[in-house]
């Protein structure tokens, strides 16, 4: 029942209703002309795996870490970068970056935040033997390979690309040009600073983390029950909280969260997609919808003989009733996609895939014939992480049978084995694939899923032209130039269709009557998309 979203879902500004709320929360509330302060509220999460930045990638950990820590930058509700714990993050060549810290930033134990707080924390997470879950977030810093050899102990303990200049300044050298780098630094669960005690006594720190954010722990982490945080005294940053404290209550299913909000036991919770219609009728405006960055794809095993023809892959894509699936399984909560990147990423092209992502049984049949038909059974691969995967795969199977006459079977792989299966290319049929956004850039999707060193795109081979376009885009100076290059690369990935886009996730957050303003905006690193520092209690 545990749903992993990998990194925190980031949210866009698209939904009109939430925009209004956001505006109230951000502009009006700051001066205190309407938002009351004080009080506490309860937000639903799943049990986090780890609360030390660098050692987790789960969105539930992110929710708590986001309350406890301020990373260098943050993303505004419009998805733009804003300095948070940094005064500036600058570069002249997009490869060598200089970070200057904000003056007066402190941890809640009183220690000042210094350049070492960042550099030591990053080195610690990037050092392979420490087994940090967010290790790969540091892979674009120069010297990463020396800390993470394929086998044996690394020779180096620190990243050669990180240099402390003075107490307030450090420099980062990347392995290549990357103009969106400040954007990525907003990820709190990877890039937040750590006080010295975190490195001296990591075991104790994990149970009782100390951060530089608007909230601090209020008692220990009560496993599987709740995590309480309270307002940090003497916090000098820009995210000054309006409530006195937040309790993150642990749930194991979103269904229960929803029921508990209705029953009055919970103030902010997630609504499962299939409950959205009912929730809207029941609670009206207290349900807010925001598009997420998560994309689902159907991948094809290009290393299997049967799936060599691009026409066959396109025929399968056209035989799948995305609209129907989204209606049946997600009550129209998710949006069918004809593009490899979601709408909230700059440069989004709504119709990049065209007719090949449109449901057309007749054309699909014709295309299959052109591709030479399909012999034998087809096996669909997916993981048991969420029950809805099986539900939509069932409709895919029924579509394939009704529209193309192909008999499908299932391989439901344990979640713990799924990525290993894909990495080792054991899947011999179409498989579920998915990408959760790390930061709002097309590069995050294209390079991670189809690019160099990718796990699943063109398994085993890389596409030179595609990779070249990605590199050019990363070095590009202007937004329009960058987006054009990314879209050119996307077109290659669509023409060859190693993966067909399916749909884009949405997040649904419900708030109780007890709360006043619940600003839910684009890019908060809270699992529910809430800017918890701006929430008010009636």
């Amino acid at each position: 029942m545990r749903r992993w979203r990998g990194a925190a879902p980031l949210f866009a500004v698209v939904a009109a209703s939430s925009l209004v709320l956001t505006a109230c929360g951000d502009d009006g509330g700051g001066e205190g002309d309407k938002g009351k302060t004080g009080g506490t509220f309860v937000e639903g999460i799943n049990e986090p795996d780890n609360l030390t930045p660098g050692f987790t990638t789960s969105s539930y950990s992110s929710t708590v870490i986001n309350a406890l820590f301020d990373p260098l930058t943050e993303l505004t509700p419009q998805g733009k970068v804003k300095m948070l714990d940094a005064q500036s993050v600058e570069s002249t060549d997009q490869q060598n970056w200089t970070v200057k810290l904000r003056k007066g930033s402190k941890f809640s134990n009183g220690d000042p935040v210094t350049a070492e707080s960042y550099v030591d924390a990053w080195n610690n997470a990037a050092y392979g033997p420490n087994g940090a879950a967010a290790n790969y977030y540091f892979a674009n810093i120069d010297g990463y390979d020396a800390l993470n050899p394929e086998e044996g102990k690394p020779k180096e303990k620190t990243l050669s690309g990180l240099k402390v200049v003075d107490k307030q300044t450090f420099t980062v050298k990347l392995t290549g040009k990357f103009s969106d780098y400040p954007l990525t630094l907003a990820t709190p669960f990877a890039f937040a600073p750590l006080p010295k005690e975190a490195l001296d006594n990591p075991k104790a720190f994990k149970e009782n983390p100390v951060g530089n954010g608007p909230f601090q722990m209020d008692g220990k982490w009560e496993h599987n029950q709740q995590i309480k945080v309270k307002k940090t005294k003497g916090y000098t940053g820009t995210r000054k909280p309006k409530v006195d404290g937040v309790t993150f209550r642990v749930y194991t299913s979103d269904d229960t969260q929803y029921n508990d909000v209705l029953g009055g036991g919970l103030d902010i919770g997630t609504v499962p997609a299939n409950k959205v219609k009912a929730a809207k009728q029941q609670v009206g405006d207290r349900l807010q919808t925001i598009p997420a960055g998560t994309m689902d794809y159907l991948g094809f095993p290009l290393f299997e003989k049967k799936y060599q023809s691009a026409d066959l892959r396109k025929a399968i894509s056209m035989a799948i009733d995305r609209e129907g699936i989204v209606k049946a399984v997600y009550d129209n909560g998710f949006k069918p996609m004809k593009s490899l990147t979601p709408p909230i990423v700059p440069g989004y092209q709504a119709d990049a895939c065209g007719e090949f992502c449109e449901y057309d049984p007749a054309k699909a049949k014709a295309l299959l014939k052109k591709a030479g038909g399909f012999e034998g059974d087809l096996t669909l691969w997916f993981s048991n992480a969420d029950p809805t995967y099986e539900k939509w795969m069932r409709i895919v199977a029924q579509n394939l049978k009704d529209n193309l006459g192909i008999n499908a079977k299932f391989k439901k792989v344990p979640d713990s084995d799924y990525l290993t299966t894909l990495n080792e290319a054991k899947q011999n049929g179409p498989y579920r694939n998915n990408w959760v956004m790390d930061y709002p850039s097309a590069e995050n999707y294209l390079a991670s899923m189809w690019g160099v060193g990718n796990r699943m795109g063109w398994k085993g081979k890389t596409h030179d032209k595609f990779n070249k376009l990605i590199d050019e885009a990363k070095a590009a100076g202007t937004d329009s130039e960058r987006e054009a290059k990314y879209n050119e690369a996307q077109q290659i990935a669509i023409d060859e269709m190693p993966m067909a886009p399916l749909w884009n996730w949405q997040n649904f957050t419900i708030a109780s009557e007890k709360l006043g303003e619940v600003p839910i905006d684009s890019y908060a690193y809270d699992g529910n998309g809430v800017r918890i520092e701006d929430v008010t209690v009636k």
Binding site: M1, R2, W4, R5, G6, A7, D49, N50, T57, S58, G128, P129, N130, G131, A132, A133, N135, Y136, A139, L147, N148, P149, E150, E151, P154, K203, K206, E222, H223, N224, Q225, R249, V250, Y251, T252, S253, T256, N259, D260, L262, G263, G265, N384, A385, V413, P414, D415, S416, D417, Y418, L419, T420, T421, N434, W435, V436, R455
Partner: protein
């Protein structure tokens, strides 16, 4: 009696080793790398995987892993989860939840089950008996999770009589889930008592007691009940253990952070240490419950003597 008890305890050892080893081997045989599951849908560098494998002895052969685990377990150290939390502390917060839940269910099935059973048994063949018999059959026939969802939605959400989910409101939170969990066994207890009462009603000692002119309530309580409840004791004793392992479904529906949920998540993320830790304790509870029941049997039924 002593020799019997000691022999029984000695017999438990192979059973305990057998069950834990089977579970350990099964979790071990689960495909996949538990470490990869830690990172969710994101890639994990080989260096990190190597480091964590070493930390959790994942590259040892099965028997060595098991032996290392058990050696520590007997010193009270059940190891660490892959999140770096010690299994003991991971379970610490979960046991009370499941224990309370099972206890509520158990008391419910005991009180309601025996009452219904005695009532039906004394009125065997009459209308009351038929209603109780039919009702219990129905309870067994409707799947627990259907009962659980219906109860949650009707009594929790719609009519707001009980808390919807969670354990925040103390014992009150346990009433509804406890009743749902206990209802299945309640049906068995009621039927068991009913049969037993009906059988004993015709026993010679009952005829004697009545012939002696004892008052009716005394006959029922002193003679009938005492003799009829012996098989029920067996059932109830063993059932406390199975309630705990069977709480999974109810815990899932009512969001109770008990061991059932813990196990479910642990299996999904291949947390071998956690699964085996729970199993070990569940098996121990089961074995000791059995032993106590058997010893109690001797106390209740003087005809039985243990050598």
């Amino acid at each position: 009696m002593w020799r019997y008890t000691v022999r029984r305890i000695l017999q438990m050892i192979p059973v305990l080793i057998g069950t834990t080893f089977i579970i350990y081997a099964m979790v071990f045989a689960l495909p996949g790398d538990p470490i990869q599951a830690l990172a969710g849908s994101k890639p994990l560098p080989q260096s990190v995987i190597n480091a964590l494998h070493e930390r959790y002895n994942l590259d040892d052969p099965l028997v060595v892993q098991y032996a290392k685990y058990m050696a520590n377990a007997f010193q009270g150290d059940f190891g660490e989860t892959f999140y770096g939390q010690s299994v003991t502390s991971a379970l610490e917060s979960r046991w009370p939840v499941t224990l309370k839940l099972a206890l509520v269910a158990w008391v419910f099935e005991l009180v309601a089950g025996v009452t219904l059973g005695v009532w039906a048994g004394l009125r065997r063949g009459k209308f009351t008996d038929r209603v109780i018999l039919g009702g219990t059959t129905l309870i067994i026939a409707v799947p627990t999770f259907v009962v659980a969802y219906s109860a949650q939605l009707l009594l929790g959400v719609k009519w707001d009589i009980f808390p919807v989910a969670g354990t925040q409101e103390g014992w009150v939170s346990y009433i509804l889930p406890g009743i749902v969990l206990g209802s299945f066994s309640l049906a068995f207890v009621a039927r068991l008592v009913r049969t037993s009462i009906a059988e004993n009603l015709r026993a010679d000692y009952m005829r004697t007691a009545r012939a002696k002119g004892l008052p009716k309530h005394r006959v029922v309580v002193r003679h009938l009940l005492r003799n009829s409840l012996i098989p029920v004791v067996t059932y109830l004793g063993v059932d406390l253990g199975s309630l705990m392992s069977g709480a999974l479904v109810v815990e899932a529906v009512f969001n109770m952070p008990g061991i059932g949920q813990g196990i479910f998540q642990a299996v999904q993320t291949k947390q071998g240490t956690l699964v085996v830790g729970v199993t070990t304790i569940l098996v121990l509870i089961y074995l000791f419950a059995n032993l106590i029941v058997d010893l109690l049997y001797g106390v209740l039924d003087p005809r039985i003597r243990y050598e």
